[in-house]
């Protein structure tokens, strides 16, 4: 069977639960850490970004409205699917980051564990950051965290898979929908993650993966009036500043790039709370009328 034709994989974007090519028709060459050609990845344009926002907005109501328990199950399902594709991700991460087999395997395992970790948080975060507030009056005063909305994420440039999972999972665990711009240099693990999400139970549009030039795609997203927040993890200082200015124009929530030495370390809940809004309601408990009845 040595004369078998090789079957190359066409990497595509993941938008609204479908796998389109870039609207622009462009692709760019992706190489491994040593410069050897791996594949052509779609080079997204601002119109792909716009389409992704439409998809993410459409998916937001259903995803934010799903019970936390259900979201946890769905995220756990993603981990299950990832486990089944372990070999593929080990190969892709090894190519992308120039790691040996065993190191790459450790990275992929850490990423799967990260999904599971965040899957567990979906129905616990409300107890940690919300709760009943003591007030001086006959009221229940309750604070609960609510998702911010559509979040644009610039995935970390260096850690193409574990870094990606570490910024994506917290955003969707709390009920936001996401548009992820994959690492510019090594987008393949992110594009393959799209295939995993499509075969998990994640509704189409909850996660949208774009590849291409980070600066080109991020600019229209930062200025977009219908994107509620942006995570600048994958932006360098100059780009981050530009995007923050553009985002300030429409009052987006901005998460500035945080220096991360070791993506494998336990992340804490900061990335989840960054894209949560606190809703507080007052509910009367005391006597309401002359009869003295309560409730």
């Amino acid at each position: 069977m040595s004369d078998r034709l090789s079957v190359f994989k066409t990497y595509k974007l993941y938008v609204g639960g479908k796998f389109p090519r870039s609207e622009s028709g462009r692709v760019y060459e992706v190489t491994d850490a040593k410069g050897k050609w791996l594949a052509n990845a779609p080079q997204s344009s601002r119109k792909d970004a716009r389409d992704a926002v439409v998809a993410a907005r459409k998916a937001f109501g259903g995803w934010a409205g799903a019970t936390a328990y259900n979201r946890g199950q769905v995220l756990y399902r993603v981990a299950e699917m990832l486990e089944g594709r372990r070999e593929q991700f080990v190969r892709e991460v090894s190519d992308a980051e120039g790691l040996g087999k065993s190191k790459a395997a450790a990275v992929v395992d850490a990423a799967v564990d990260r999904w599971v970790w965040y899957a567990g948080w979906t129905d616990k975060i409300a107890q940690v950051v919300g709760g009943g507030n003591p007030v001086a009056g006959p009221y229940f005063n309750l604070s609960s965290p609510e998702p911010t909305g559509v979040v644009a994420i610039l995935a970390p440039q260096e850690s193409s898979f574990l870094g990606l999972v570490s910024v994506l999972a917290p955003v969707i665990a709390t009920g936001n929908t996401a548009i992820v711009i994959a690492s510019e240099k090594s987008p393949l693990p992110a594009l393959s993650l799209g295939e995993v999400l499509a075969t998990s139970d994640v509704p189409g549009g909850v996660v949208n993966v774009l590849s291409g030039r980070t600066a080109e795609i991020a600019a229209p997203l930062a200025a977009h009036q219908d994107v509620n927040a942006i995570d600048l993890a994958g932006a360098d200082d100059v780009l981050a500043k530009e995007l923050e200015i553009a985002a300030a124009d429409n009052l987006k929530r901005v998460l500035r790039p945080q220096p991360v030495d070791d993506w494998a370390a336990t992340p804490g809940i900061d990335r989840m709370t960054a894209f949560l809004e606190t809703k507080t309601v007052w509910h009367p408990t005391g006597s309401l009328g002359a009869s003295g009845s309560s409730y």
């Binding site: 716009r50 926002v53 907005r57 229209p220 200025a223 977009h224 009036q225 219908d226 994107v227 124009d249 429409n250």
Partner: protein, 317 residues
């Protein structure tokens, strides 16, 4: 506009058989060719200043419509306010052509758009099914006109049309036209989704125009298939040919299913390339739509600011 057929074609409406002979004598429609032409005209790239012009033109052509059982006077007033100033944050936005409501809401709508260029259109004749006695349909029309409707959107009797009883449909349209009087313009809805074939749509178009329609309109928006580029192209060809033969210009209104600016601009290309520039005016071409307007406004904001807009920046209808 005379209520009788223009004299160049006067003899074809003399009896049921001459009418049938004429309508069946119209050339058959090449369905594949029609769809291919509509699709190819839809590939035109309209950008920058041309796009800005097209968007403003499309906004001025919208018949902003609410035809729900749950319509309240408040909703109709809100719709009227939106028709007059589609984007309150930008007063350079043109007003829409009309608001389209049920007959009992005409008076409310009239009040809401008073003092503006926006007209009030009312569906009548037992919309959307059209299954009522002629006397009921005419009473429906008269009440709407009496309440101040500037335009009447009638539905044809599709049952009679499909049964081949063209004269009955013709007589009904002429009767409604008469009930509209001199003041109200008549739009005739064919419900193209229920006519099954392109040949039928062509026949219905000619039948409507012979009977004195001021506008021919694709559909009610209440069935599965509404306005498509192909059936609108076919109707645009009909109005073009009708004017060439009789000198009478008739308007076209696609309705239902047009939701994005991109779609609307495709229709404008069809108008320009088929009927010609004379129809690029809201006196002769309309969009029956409700959600289309918001998309046009978002696109307009995008062109003005360079930033993509979102549904938070237009009204929720």
């Amino acid at each position: 506009m005379p209520t009788t057929a223009p004299h160049a074609l006067a003899d074809v409406t003399a009896s049921g058989s001459t009418l049938r002979r004429f309508l069946h004598g119209l050339p058959g429609v090449d369905a594949v060719g029609l769809e291919a032409r509509a699709a190819s005209l839809g590939t035109r790239s309209i950008k920058t200043t041309a796009k800005a012009y097209a968007i403003d033109l499309a906004i001025s052509m919208v018949d902003l419509t609410t035809l729900e059982g749950a319509d309240t006077p408040g909703k109709v007033r809100a719709l009227g306010a939106k028709a007059v100033h589609p984007d309150p944050t930008d007063r350079t936005t043109p007003a829409t052509a009309a608001v389209c409501v049920y007959p009992d809401m005409v008076a409310t709508a009239k009040e809401a758009v008073a003092g503006s260029t926006v007209k009030v259109a009312s569906v009548a004749t037992a919309f959307p099914a059209g299954r009522a006695a002629l006397s009921v349909k005419l009473a429906d029309v008269r009440e709407a006109v009496a309440a101040g409707a500037d335009e009447i959107d009638m539905v044809i009797d599709r049952g009679a049309f499909l049964a081949g009883n063209y004269l009955k449909v013709y007589d009904e349209i002429t009767a409604v036209k008469e009930a509209c009087g001199a003041s109200a313009r008549l739009k005739v809805i064919f419900e193209t989704g229920e006519l099954s074939t392109y040949d039928n749509i062509r026949r219905a178009s000619w039948l409507g125009m012979l009977a004195g329609a001021d506008f021919i309109k694709t559909s009610t928006g209440k069935v599965a298939v509404n306005a498509t580029p192909a059936n609108t192209l076919l109707m645009l060809e009909a109005v073009r040919d009708f004017r060439a033969q009789t000198g009478v210009q008739v308007g076209v209104k696609p309705a239902g299913g047009i939701r994005t600016s991109k779609d609307a601009i495709k229709f404008l290309v069809l108008v320009n390339e088929t009927a010609g520039e004379d129809w690029l005016d809201n006196h002769w071409f309309r969009f029956g739509a409700s959600s289309l307007l918001n998309d046009l406004l978002m696109q307009r904001q995008k062109l003005a600011t360079g930033r993509y807009s979102g549904p938070d920046y237009v009204t929720v209808d």
